[in-house]
Symmetry: D2
Subunit: 402 residues, 4 copies
């Protein structure tokens, strides 16, 4: 664990997905698929592929912690594993060693394993996103024209409706849902370039091997190796950063609405959630806290990945490695954020009476003309119309993307 603080900013699954054991398992899946695909394409004997598959079948046969520790000297997490795999294959059938990891390089293993490790995390992101969207559309329906103060630059500006707020919170999530899926389809791809990205040892069958591996591993078959072309991969990261920004917006608003002085909405309260070590009466907006922390960290993780794009020649020195380390942090942040909101939004406690009371209290303070022009509760009707139309359109988009 880079620190104990990761724990409350992400989910156990997302933290585990890129951990030593799971990543070693993902790298093993690469090696098995490579051998199987190469056997299919006639590049290596079927039995050699079977030997490799057998030797790599059990991740627990490899000491993930040692591999992680040795990666420092080696400069790559793949090198110590490949050494261990070859030793295992050698014990089983020395002739098969030469057909192990054939024509591949560390980056092939690592990039592909990274795609494999990322898929379930991103699937979880999408699932949690659906929960958030569902909750928001429901709230949007329910409070479509419920009047509340609209606030600009922190000051009451006029009247809006809580339903319109929900619809505007939901729209970027609906967009994110389809954009993340599209980016996954493109970026979660086989990496197979060999030592310098030319698939030199594939004897012209590189694309066939890639296609077979893609089928076996459930990843995309890219048009070419992407060793130092990271635009699709970093493009996927952009989508996650945008998502944390959109979730952060919701969290920011909820935290502001939840101030005691405002009191218009609050995260659901439950045993053991959001208490204070010193103040038993408090209920802290824990989900908003996590989403806001993610929204502050994600842009920087993405910046690291973007800044690493100018990688040198056929494999970057420092840049690729910085990118590798930044990606799990970004994915874990995004997952932590969407999970937190998926836990909070369905049970969001909306206080429509207080919304109305705050509005009325302001009206009472203002000159009647200003109150009538800008703070007539009936103005929420406009917002309600916009809300209903947008919710309908978002529901349609969700159907279209199913």
């Amino acid at each position: 664990m880079s620190s104990i603080f990761e724990s409350f900013l992400s989910t156990p699954e997302a933290l585990e997905a890129f951990g030593d054991r799971a990543f070693v398992a993902a790298m093993l899946r690469f090696e098995v698929a490579l051998a199987q695909a190469q056997a299919e394409c006639g590049l290596i004997p079927r039995e050699a592929a079977d030997h490799v598959a057998r030797c790599c079948a059990d991740p627990d046969a490899f000491d993930a912690a040692t591999i992680a520790r040795e990666s420092g000297r080696a400069g790559s997490v793949a090198i110590p594993l490949i050494k261990a795999i070859k030793q295992a294959v050698d014990k089983c059938d020395p002739a098969a060693v030469a057909f192990t990891h054939l024509g591949a390089t560390s980056q092939d293993v690592i990039d592909t394993a990274c795609a494999l490790a990322s898929r379930p995390v991103l699937d979880d992101v999408c699932t949690d996103l659906d929960i958030c969207i569902g909750a928001l559309l429901k709230l949007g329906d329910q409070y479509a024209a419920a009047p509340m103060l609209a606030r600009t630059l922190g000051q009451p500006g006029s009247v809006t409706s809580f339903g319109w707020k929900c619809a505007q919170w939901a729209a970027p999530l609906v967009l994110a849902r389809s954009r993340i899926r599209a980016a996954m389809d493109e970026a979660l791809a086989i990496q197979l370039g060999g030592p310098v990205g030319t698939q030199v040892q594939m004897k012209g069958k590189g694309p066939d091997v890639v296609a077979a591996m893609a089928r076996i591993l459930g990843l995309a078959a890219p048009a070419s190796p992407w060793h130092t072309r990271r635009e699709s991969w970093v493009g996927l990261a952009c989508e996650l950063a945008l998502l944390t920004g959109s979730l952060g917006k919701i969290a920011k608003d909820i935290s502001l609405l939840g101030q005691w002085e405002v009191g218009e909405a609050a995260e659901p309260s439950e045993e053991g959630r959001g208490g204070s070590s010193a103040m038993p009466h408090k209920s802290n907006p824990v989900a908003a806290m996590i989403a806001l922390a993610a929204a502050q960290a994600a842009p920087q993780h993405l910046a690291t990945m973007l800044a690493a794009m100018p990688q040198e020649h056929e494999r970057g020195l420092g840049g690729w490695q910085a990118e590798l380390a930044a990606w799990p942090r970004l994915a874990q942040s995004a997952q932590g954020s969407v999970r937190a909101m998926a836990q909070a939004l369905p049970g969001l406690r909306v206080n429509a009476a207080r919304m109305r009371a705050n509005l009325d209290r302001l009206r009472a303070e203002l000159p009647p003309a200003a109150a009538a022009e800008w703070f007539d509760p009936a103005l929420a009707g406009h917002a309600g119309d916009l809300a209903r139309k947008q919710i309908e359109s978002l529901r349609q988009q969700l159907k279209d993307h199913e």
Copy 2:
């Protein structure tokens, strides 16, 4: 100018596009289009719209420098301009003042003007991108199988071809071209929400007014106001950041190939370009310098925009303003980068003989077996095959997107 250093990192046009005068002109275009659209929709009298149009016709009738200076106190660049417009309209026809800027807010003017100001800059980005792509595909054809050292982690790894390098440089640019266009179509959009994003003073005709303005100004008509939903706008920014990363990769490789000790490629040399104030014999890689500087700055500009996404309620305090200032810097960086490469790539001086000589020199240093296995010039054939196939595919993609 925030500083003299902007000058050599961007283009005069991109710097001017967001400058005082041009931005005031763009804001005036918003006000004219708003009035025209509202007249079309029957919200204001036709004559009032004509008065507004006449008063806003000449940007030079407004003192852009004063407006910029007063924006500090006002907290918005739109407020002093709108005041000046209303004064001008008042002189012309006092009755038309009430129909000026009707139902709009500062953010409507500024966001829409920002879209207007951005379009020509992004069009230039696309034009320069086409030049880069054209040059790279030509080089890719020409040197498809020309053998050169492939280098990983800074060390010779095996053999590749210069054409394959060019094809791999080109591919992200072809992708960027279509992604930037798509993002422009979505993000360069009318902003019209009124004071709190509910289009309250449009009497239910908000979408019609938006549609008319979109037609008049050549921008998109978004499904709803996007005051504090910045995902499409920041999504466009992501594309530019990705582009600077991809251009930075090319620049990095060129600068490495251009080292005197390597000598395999160099930027075109011309009078007044890349000289040294102290060393007459030098020729500096000026284009690579600009592209690399952009690739280092762009991720941070984007990070500022992303971090600003959690904007408060119906208008952000600080976040929106930070985002506004970051966008021109990003667009100018991106444009500076692609222009620099568009000037350098078509005349790139490729030294295929030196590529071969470096390879041969390494072969002579290595044990014969290693030289034969990893550094046989014939290995460039594999890269050549990949290059030719990819270039063909990229040409097809370009045709498909025309």
Copy 3:
């Protein structure tokens, strides 16, 4: 101007300081000081130095806009200026040309000019900082034990005093004041390394020339050239970024206290300040907005400078240039932020009655035991004691640093 948005996020003086004209003037001061210092040290004839001084005396004799524009092709803002200076000297005395810019390189001119341009901006920062500190200490005295709700994670936690808040706002500014001064003394330094940082043409008198230039220009004489050693320079940038963070904290609290629902403090109101284009009743927290925008942008500007530190060999390609462009943005942000707060803090409208009323209102809502334990107004006494002691200590620190 990189954009019109710079105007309201900085001060006219800070924007101008790094503009074309002012920067050309600063570069001219370098050339004059270099020649004078070299004459003093016997490296060039006294008359040659006088010629250079005469030719560089009037910045308006040089076309700053053209120099800025040509810098793009040259890859440096110094190269076109030096060319123009040499032409001017040539007209005056051809023999003096060889003694112009002798032994210096572009980076010497630019880094030194940057230090010269920065000094008045940073002096202004310090002056505005003093105003902020003075205002906060006065408020701290006045409201030392005035009870108010303390809020943690957005929720009322217990009781504090407004004076303690002010004292805690002030403390980082007092620290910043002395740290910025110390960093200026170190980082605003002569750069003079010559083409590759070895002072090769100074004939062993490099340190003497540097010392003389430092005296003439009022800058520090560093132990050695710092072409690619940027730790002191970026260290100064760190201080500014920390300052914007500390000011952002004050701004964040003021904006939260100023929410209509809270109503405990507000920025001073004046004609033309913080109005809304659509809503005449509004008064926006413009100073907080500027300080918050700066606090969001400054970390990224600093990140660009830090990321640029690994500059190649004796002059960076891309990194140095990215750093150059980021520094003015950071300095301008910091100056905009501290100026905004210096305008807002002395006239801050504090509503102690409302603070007390909010506290009493919460007490009424809580079970009596919790109200008594956590929200007794008398608890503000503890905060008051801390406030008084800290204010005294800060006043002493200010005296010690005078």
Copy 4:
């Protein structure tokens, strides 16, 4: 582990220091010291303090993994631990429960534990820094006037010496050494503010308790609580970011010198270090890779911390948590970087003959006049003089700081 990639970018000790078990142990040390200090100051009975000490003596009595996992719901890693401690104390002596964690809040525990966890990591940083400095000064002596090409913007500019390069690499490290120590003395401090930063339950003895805790834990006793005043803490982070930048500069140069085409320096070669999974003949610059990756990530980690400074009122929502998570990443990056260089620099393989040969080869290519003016090997004498003087001065500084 946030990911397996952390392993090769940091050290096992630095990764462990902020891990679940070690951080729980550090939090336990806080609770013990708090109780002991409160007993000393007469705030709680001595026996209660002894009970707390006994119950917290063994970190393994607490289930760190569970505490970490539950922190998500609680919104803080301290809350589940404090609950567990109170249960343990309750079993031992129910009367002592009320004296456990008395007057403290989660942030007190966490911030103080973070300081405790950081100290050994930063001590290691300083130890490794001394190794780097020692190695560089020795190389600087040895090669003080050894001529080599100086390179600006990637092109040969003139002549320098390798010793001068080493002296310029060393100088920022010597500065970093004393600045980090000074920042540690200030920032590694007790946090003790209680629920809202007023030390309300310390009955006026807050400063005494802090002083006693500082003595017990070996941390600084700050002038006041620093819950939402993070300038010293983030200031320490700035020093680490500056250090990674300075180390990145050394790594960048070594990686460039180590290119096969240049061949002037290389990292030490040893079994299992820097090999390639595909290419047995390669020796990769692993240390430079790690240091460069750190130099790319550290600025972003710092940016997260800086951007989090505007924390709300008496405890930040999201900002503090983002800062907490960013700090270990920064400290681990910095430690990974300096450790890598401490392993590489003492055994750096310097090829002075190749330096001279490259210089001679360039001379042969140039017109004789240019060769004589700019590339005379004798020019290295100037660099040698600078090197010797600077090395002497750095040695003196090291002595002064002992």
